[in-house]
Every structure is written in structure tokens, then in C-alpha cells.
């Protein structure tokens, strides 16, 4: 593959992935309003388009046309930088996620993954520290929120962003440790390598996903920590509206608020992607042999989408179910329960892997 083809293929992949991601983000908001509405015995959005399906579009227009207010007392440069930083960090990490296997189109083979390439043997390969890069980008995402709260010069914003940064730094530890078990079993840090390690099945039926290979404790730790990382109920203390108005984005309006909003949902999608890659085998799934070949080629994407949808639905379901934690409970839970449990999981997995080797 020449440098020019590589560049064109990469640009096409980036454009498609970004477009799909932003659409998913918009419709996750719609799905959330719809599902939570039904859980609370009301209709949710139903006026704009059939089933309210055009609601995200209407919201987008509203965000663009609203008055873009910059309060006079803010630290202007940082105030303007913060939402962009949050959104960029949230949208970048999808580049590392292997979405599907190698596809062959117009004589070019490439994996459905922005950073993925095909090596000389026709096997997909990607950056061999891929997972760490995702974690690094996630940890940089804190800055958007922290700086937003600080630069707003408002006590609600400041308290919200203090809570957010403390919470995200604390739960990142458990989140990282919960992934170590999977890394020990797959012995690679590359995300496509981790998917590859889960491809086979037991008896041709049960997939050998790491969730079924003993990493279920890690899976639950990861999910809990991920809820805290993305500031979702029951851990949405940074924007607890009963205490802090709207937390770190109190002073933001119009598109700048929308950027924080999109960043939160894009982070949800990324976390769901990593969860399905690490624990649920990524795009792997049963092959359905009676379907025509052209349809079968799309099956991996269907499996991946289904897994992402499951996680997004879980987010919404829990939002409709659980009340908010108290802040000291959140910290105590993170450090005194989740962190030791994650450490224990690493040690047990390490012994298990060493014994099997």
C-alpha cells in the first residue's frame, strides 16, 4: 500500500467513524429520553418526527441558534478552551477501537479500525500499546472538566469540577487495575490482539470471551468504575442538580454546553467499546452460515453494534433505577471496596495464569 492510498484510506475511515460516532451520540440522547420516559410512565420526545426521531436534529438547531453567552467574570482563554478540550479527548479515543475484522474493497484490504493496518501476512495489526493510549486520552479528558470549573469563577462550577477531578482520578485506578487481568490472560496490549485472543469457542457454541474465562469480577469493577468515569448516575455528583445547579458546566450556554454534553455521551460510547473489546470479544460472534455471503460480511459490525447498544441501554436503565450516591460514600466505595477488590483480582488472575503456563 503506497503512502497516498494509506492516507486516503485513513481519511475515509476517520470520516465514517466520526460521522457514525456523532450520530450514535445524538441518538443515545434520544434513546435515553425515550427509555427513561417509558420507565417513568410517560412518552418521552414524541412531537418532532415519527417517535420523536428528529428530536436530536431539533436539539442541534436549538444549541446552534441560542445566544452564546460568555459571562464577564470568567478567565476567558481557559473558559473557551475547556469545552473543546473535553470534546476532542472524548472523540479521539474511538480511533484505537477495533470495530470489525479486515475488509476487502476495491482491491484494498484494511481492518475496520482507524489506527489498524494490514501487515505483510494479511493479518490485522495496530499500535501495540493501544489500550494504554486509550487510558491516557481518558485521563487527559479530566482537564476539560477541571478547567471549565476553575475558569468559570463560580462556586457551583468550582465545586462540581473539584468533585469531578477527584472522582475521575480515584476511579481510574480501579478501572486500570480491572483491565490488568484481561491483559495477563491475553498477554498483549494491542486492542486488536485482545479481540483475536477471544475468537475461538468452546464446543463451537460458547464464545471464549474473557468474561466467561473468569474475568467476571473484573467486568463488574470495570463497569462500576466506568460509570464513575463518565459521571453518570449513580455517580453524577459533579453535576448534581439538587446541590450544584449544573456543576462544572453551570456557566456554559449554547454550543459550548452542547460540547460538554456530546463529550459525556461520546465517553459513554468509548467506555462501552472498550468494555466489549476487553470482556465481550469485540466484534466476534457466532457466524450464521445460511445467510448470503454479502450479509455475513456485515455480521461482525452487527455484533459489535449490538454489544455497544447493550451497554448504552444498561447506562440508561441504571439511570432510571438508582438514586445518586453521597460524595463520601462514593470515595469510600471507590478506595475501600473497589480498589482492594481489583488488586485481589489481579493477584488471583496472575496465579491462575502462572499455574496454567
Amino acid at each position: 500500500m503506497s503512502a497516498l492510498t494509506f492516507l486516503i484510506v485513513a481519511l475515509i475511515k476517520i470520516a465514517i467513524t466520526l460521522g457514525v460516532l456523532l450520530t450514535v451520540v445524538a441518538y443515545t440522547v434520544w434513546l435515553e429520553r425515550k427509555v427513561v420516559g417509558r420507565m417513568q410512565n410517560r412518552w418521552g420526545p414524541s412531537r418532532v418526527g415519527p417517535f420523536g426521531l428528529l428530536q436530536p436534529l431539533a436539539d442541534g438547531i436549538k444549541f446552534l441558534l441560542k445566544e452564546d453567552l460568555t459571562p464577564p467574570y470568567v478567565e476567558k482563554n481557559i473558559y473557551l478552551l475547556a469545552p473543546g478540550l473535553a470534546l476532542i479527548m472524548a472523540l479521539t479515543s474511538i480511533a484505537l477501537v477495533p470495530i470489525g475484522p479486515v475488509i476487502h474493497l476495491f482491491g484494498i484490504s484494511t481492518p475496520v479500525q482507524i489506527t489498524g493496518v494490514v501487515d505483510a501476512a494479511g493479518q490485522p495489526s495496530d499500535i501495540n500499546v493501544g489500550l494504554l493510549i486509550v487510558l491516557g486520552i481518558t485521563s487527559l479528558g479530566v482537564y476539560g472538566i477541571a478547567l471549565a470549573g476553575w475558569s468559570s469563577n463560580s462556586k457551583y462550577s468550582l465545586l462540581g469540577s473539584l468533585r469531578a477531578s477527584a472522582q475521575m482520578v480515584s476511579y481510574e485506578v480501579s478501572l486500570g487495575l480491572s483491565l490488568v487481568g484481561v491483559l495477563l490472560m491475553s498477554s498483549t496490549l494491542s486492542l486488536s490482539g485482545i479481540v483475536h485472543a477471544q475468537q475461538s469457542t468452546w464446543f463451537g457454541v460458547i464464545p471464549q470471551w474473557f468474561l466467561f474465562r473468569g474475568q467476571f469480577v473484573a467486568f463488574f469493577i470495570y463497569m462500576i468504575a466506568a460509570f464513575a468515569e463518565t459521571n453518570r448516575i449513580p455517580f453524577d455528583l459533579p453535576e448534581a442538580e439538587t446541590e450544584l445547579v449544573a456543576g462544572y458546566h453551570t456557566e456554559y450556554s449554547a454550543m459550548k454546553f452542547a460540547m460538554f454534553f456530546m463529550a459525556e455521551y461520546a465517553n459513554m460510547v468509548t467506555v462501552a467499546c472498550i468494555a466489549s473489546v476487553m470482556f465481550l470479544g469485540g466484534w466476534t460472534g457466532p457466524t450464521i452460515s445460511f445467510l448470503p455471503l454479502a450479509v455475513q460480511a456485515f455480521l461482525p459490525l452487527v455484533w459489535f453494534t449490538a454489544k455497544i447498544f447493550f451497554f448504552l441501554f444498561l447506562y440508561i436503565w441504571i439511570r432510571g433505577t438508582l438514586p445518586r450516591f453521597r460524595y463520601d460514600q462514593l470515595m469510600a466505595f471507590g478506595w475501600k471496596f473497589l480498589f482492594p477488590l481489583a488488586l485481589a483480582n489481579v493477584i488471583v488472575t496472575a496465579f491462575f495464569v502462572a499455574w496454567r503456563a
Binding site: 491516557g136 485521563s139 481510574e172
Partner: protein, 165 residues
């Protein structure tokens, strides 16, 4: 390409470091330090040490600097006042910088590295090789560092513990 990227990130790194010292607002200094850390990570990446580069971002930019910003936010630190310079810096710092610079240049001239640029992956890049080195060749340094970290954690616990009086 390599050389161009190196120059870009070296300029970023040095510029960030100078800006860190010049800025009056604490938060701007902290943000400049993040730029320094980030461009250092990119230089590590150019050297082929991808694992070290990512760890640099995660640990320094992602964890330590977040705590810095956290403290600045908590204390609501404002402008720093420019001091008239310290005597220690005047009598020891400048001669020290001079002597250190001469020694550094001398060492570089004596052990001049060859001009061929390093290829990506020429160093101990991947995580497994770094781990192998840490647990074999540099085991003693690794263990001593871990004891140091343990002592620091214990110090933090002692300082943070409520007095039982």
C-alpha cells in the same frame, strides 16, 4: 519527517518550560508544565520508546498534573508576586549552571553519539521488553524505587491521619 517532528516538539517543550517560569498566574504555569510533559512524551515516541511515552502521558499529564491543578483550584491561587531573586540562586545557582553546562558539554563531546537517527522500535519499545528489563537487569533499582514509593505512601497516611487526642 523525524527531524521535523523532533524540532517541533523540542520547540514546544522548551517554549513550555520558559513559559512556565515567566507566567504570573499559577494555573498558566501548570498548563505549561502539561505542554512540557506532552512534548517530552512525543520525543520519547520519536525515539521508539512507545511504552515509556504513553506512561509519561498517563502518569505525569494524566495523574500528577491533575493533582497540581486540583490543588491550585482548592487554594484558589492567584497571581504570583515577582521576587527580587534569592541569594542562593545568585551565589550557587549561576556558577552551578555554568559548571554543570561545561561538564555536560564535555561528556557529550567525549561520548559523541553517532549521527544515524534511531528507527521506531530500535530501542526497548514494547511493554514486554521494558518489563523484562525491569525484572532482570534493573531489578535492584526497581525494588529500591518501590520501597521509596512505599515510604512516601506511609508518610502521606501519617500526615493525613486524624489525631486521636
Amino acid at each position: 519527517m523525524h527531524q521535523f517532528l523532533f524540532i517541533v516538539f523540542a520547540v514546544f517543550c522548551a517554549g513550555g518550560a520558559i513559559n512556565l517560569l515567566v507566567q504570573r498566574k499559577t494555573i498558566n504555569s501548570a498548563l505549561s508544565l502539561i505542554v512540557v510533559m506532552g512534548s517530552l512524551a512525543m520525543i520519547y515516541l520519536l525515539l521508539g520508546a512507545e511504552f515509556v511515552a504513553v506512561v509519561q502521558v498517563i502518569i505525569y499529564a494524566g495523574a500528577i498534573m491533575v493533582l497540581y491543578i486540583f490543588v491550585i483550584m482548592l487554594l484558589n491561587a492567584g497571581d504570583e508576586e515577582a521576587s527580587k531573586g534569592s541569594n542562593v540562586a545568585k551565589y550557587f545557582g549561576i556558577p552551578g549552571l555554568f559548571i554543570g553546562g561545561i561538564i555536560g558539554i564535555g561528556v557529550l563531546l567525549k561520548h559523541r553519539p553517532n549521527d544515524t537517527p534511531l528507527k521506531l522500535g530500535a530501542l526497548y519499545g514494547p511493554a514486554d521488553q521494558v518489563g523484562m528489563l525491569l525484572f532482570t537487569k534493573y531489578l535492584l533499582a526497581f525494588e529500591v524505587t518501590s520501597v521509596l514509593v512505599l515510604i512516601a505512601i506511609m508518610g502521606a497516611v501519617v500526615l493525613a491521619r486524624r489525631s486521636d487526642s
